[in-house]
């Protein structure tokens, strides 16, 4: 139970409190955001305290952060034995540097009367905790060597399990007490962040790298508007420039392309026989394909009947696609009376292929603009399509080649067949009479 609190409850409480607390302090209590530097009151010991402390702790914290945020990268690095050795050495050295600096700072804080005048209880709590935390960290690192390596399989997954809201504390509950204390200490610091001077970590002035040297602020509305207008004008000038550069660039490229073509036209094609033959080869292939297609098409036009499917494959709800005499898609269903329903699948709106699945009202839908068609009548029922789907002439042919039943658009089907005969039949579409075309 206590484990549950320390490794799952405490982290979540700390993170939530830190986020809300930091947000509130940064938004509503900006005046309290300061480093509270004491260099002014005492600057000789500070040099030997603050500088090593900050450099050491930043190196150590960055190491922790990289291991946590980029576990794959870190794992790849620590798979090299000498890299682990270097990381461990640097880490311990930086910790000792930080510890020495912190020791100086604590000594200075307790011995200087001037510094005591600006010391709060929270300050003392923070420095004491920091000292303990780093001592624990150094002891963990030296007692349980190669933490850079073993943490990738334990602490990192634990932290990610917290982050992904699937907390799993079994990664860390088995750890030695030394390390557990270090971990709990870390959560305490996150918890304390918004309530102490630690908050200055979030105030690192990165914007100084790129900001303009001078800052002028206008207070009167008139001038402010003008400043805004000036900025807008500058922006639009900048946009215009960008546009001009873009257009010039595009024109340039175009000109290069066109002049190249023009040059080739006057100069004649490139005299490289290999490239030329490759080009001809490509052209030939394309012609062959077109010829094949045309041949296939002509064959269909010549034959009086085209096979759609065996009768037994027809389904009442799921239509069978085929290509009709006009080289357009068609659909074939098995009707309620057992006879086939054969209809064009080319939507009369803009020519998309309608879907093959019937809905409960016996309709198919065109997916392009949601037109519905009744497959039995071909009539549109809702949607942008106005004209009916064309009905297609068909014939059921037995294995001997005899047409048992024929259906012509507009007429009733002619002929009869027993169910056994039907099962053996195949569905063909027949060439429409010349008058109907």
């Amino acid at each position: 139970m206590i484990d549950l609190f320390l490794y799952i409850g405490l982290p979540y409480i700390a993170i939530i409190v830190a986020i809300i607390g930091c947000y509130r302090r940064a938004k509503y209590s900006k005046y309290s955001m300061t480093t509270r530097s004491s260099q002014f009151l005492e600057d000789k010991q500070l040099l030997w305290g603050s500088t090593p402390w900050h450099i050491g702790v930043i190196v150590v914290l960055l190491g922790h952060l990289i291991a946590f945020l980029l576990p794959q990268v870190w794992a790849a690095i620590v798979s090299v034995p000498w890299a682990v050795f270097v990381i461990e050495t640097v880490g311990v050295a930086a910790s000792i540097l930080a510890l020495a600096g912190l020791g100086t700072l604590i000594y200075r804080r307790v011995t200087s009367a001037r510094i005591q005048a600006v010391t709060t209880t929270a300050d003392l709590l923070v420095v004491a905790l920091l000292f303990a935390q780093i001592v624990l960290g150094v002891l963990s690192a030296t007692h349980f060597r190669y933490g850079a390596s073993w943490s990738t399989g334990t602490v990192v997954p634990y932290l990610w399990s917290l982050l992904t809201l699937q907390p799993d504390m079994t990664y860390v509950t088995g750890f030695p007490m030394l390390f557990k204390l270090h971990l709990i200490g870390a959560w305490l610091f996150i918890l304390l962040l918004p309530f102490t001077r630690l908050m200055h970590i979030l105030a690192v002035p990165f914007q100084y790298i790129w900001r303009r040297p001078q800052i002028v602020i206008w207070n009167t509305a008139r001038r402010r508007q003008q400043a805004v207008a000036a900025t807008v004008a500058a922006d639009s000038r900048r946009e215009f420039l960008k546009g001009a550069v873009g257009v010039t660039g595009a024109t340039g490229l175009l000109a290069i392309g066109v002049s190249n073509k023009a040059l080739n036209y006057f100069k004649g094609a490139a005299a490289d026989p290999e490239a030329e033959s490759a080009l001809l080869e490509k052209k030939l292939r394309r012609l062959e394909l077109t010829a094949e297609e045309r041949k296939y098409e002509l064959e269909r036009q010549r034959s009086s009947m085209i096979l759609v499917a065996p009768y037994k494959d027809l389904d009442p709800l799921k239509g069978k696609y085929f290509i009709d005499y006009k080289m357009a898609p068609g659909l074939a269903f098995r009707g309620k009376d057992g006879l086939p329903v054969v209809i064009s699948a080319k939507c009369t709106h803009l020519g998309c292929t309608v879907s093959s699945t019937l809905d409960e009202n016996g309709r198919v839908m065109c997916p392009c603009h949601v037109s519905f068609f009744n497959i039995f009548t071909g009539q549109p029922e809702g949607g942008p399509a106005k004209d009916p789907l064309r009905k297609i002439d068909w014939a059921l042919v037995d294995p001997t080649g005899k047409a048992l039943i024929t259906g012509v658009a507009g007429n009733k089907p002619e002929g009869t067949a027993t169910p056994e005969e039907l099962a053996a039949c195949s569905l063909f579409i027949t060439k429409p009479a010349p008058a109907a075309v």
Partner: protein, 497 residues
Amino acid sequence: MDVRAHVSVIFHLDKCIGCHTCSVACKNIWTDRPGAEYMWWNNVETKPGTGFPTRWEDQDRFNGGWKWNGKNKLEPRCQTRADSFLKLFYNPNQPNLDDYYEPFTYKYEDLFNAPQGDVQPTAIPISLITGEPMEIKAGPNWDDDLSGTPLYAENDLNLDALSEEERNMLFEVERLTMFYLPRICNHCANPTCVAACPSGAIYKRGEDGIVLINQEKCRGWRACVAACPYKKIYYNWKTGKSEKCVLCFPRLETGQAPACFHSCVGRIRYMGVMLYDADRIPDAMKVPDRALVESQRSAFLDPNDPAVIAGARANGISEEFIESAQKSPAYKYIMEWKLALPLHIEYRTMPMLFYVPPLLPVMGKTDNGTYTHDAKNFFTCLENSRLPIKYLASLFSAGNVEVVEAVMRKLMAVRHYKRWQSVRDMDENEVHKILREAKTTPEEVERIYQMTAIPTQYQRYVLPPLQREEAVESTCSPEACKGCSGFSLEPTFSPRA
């Protein structure tokens, strides 16, 4: 041409009597809070002397101001963008408390609570920081009137400009001389403090050029304290924020002169609007030292020039503002008469506070123990002056002696002309010769005399109508919040929360 207006200031040093009334007026309004006791936004220094903080002019140590590479690059001397981050932990250029002084008070209650005895009870001094009894070793004007003593004045950096002989002559007891130098924030047109602030908390008000620190954005990195070559930004050790002279903008916004102006006994202070060309900044400061004074003047614009007026209007400067620029005493002193000079222009911050250099210690000469000035040897007066011109040039013209001499000649010409007018003990032709050699005319002399000797309050302070600052400071009266830290805000509360 980007015409902008700037509230500019003239201090007439011949009129300063060194009474420190200005400092006290400022202290009572602005810096009687915990953490601010040691601050003197206005202080008066004795020159030659070391000033406050001690030897603030020593830029080899404090690295304030700008560094010019002789070509096109001007960067803060104290830091580059990259190494500013390393200086966050410890700033080697920052003065510490002992460079100022440890603020103190006296244990007055001991006077009342002491038991009856044979000796008078005393009120011992205690530190305002630790509350412990302390020995007073320094104060804000510790070398006041002590020019000439080897202990203090000899450390004045401006004496480096003098030869050994000149130094010895200056410190001969008989030739002992001094003058007062009141200092407030210069509200520079090219401020290093703004450029050095990592948080971007310091800014210049566009309308009037007042440099302010946004107390909500300040994070206490202290770069400004090091960057300001005049050491006019102070770090509040209690609140962890930097503070500086605000030119009493709440007073300006209600049409009153700043407290130090208003209380000035010698009436040495003038305030008026200057129009300047913001496009010339910072290029005007990229010239060799001896040309700096003239280069700064070249950035100022004539408020009566129709082109400048049109530019000002186009930039949103109101008619009232332009009108006060035309009546500005600052423009007269700086540009028309060329009598007012900036302090340490070699720091290249374009200070907007100008000084009329003192004539009295220069002109006066002792002869067999009597104070004389001889009209016949007018120019030898300058050469044999008690205070070497080189010293003044080191302060007011980056070492350019001619600039200071021209001012001195004109100031002397005014004296001679007025003496001739009222006493008639000189030859008229000789007086007119002096005027000619000082490149001035009787009409100009009359105007200078009028503005120097008998101006009314409204001639000294031509205040433009200002909009009330829309910052948090204006919503919270400093009177009502006295005793709180910072600008009348509790450290942990915001007035909006």
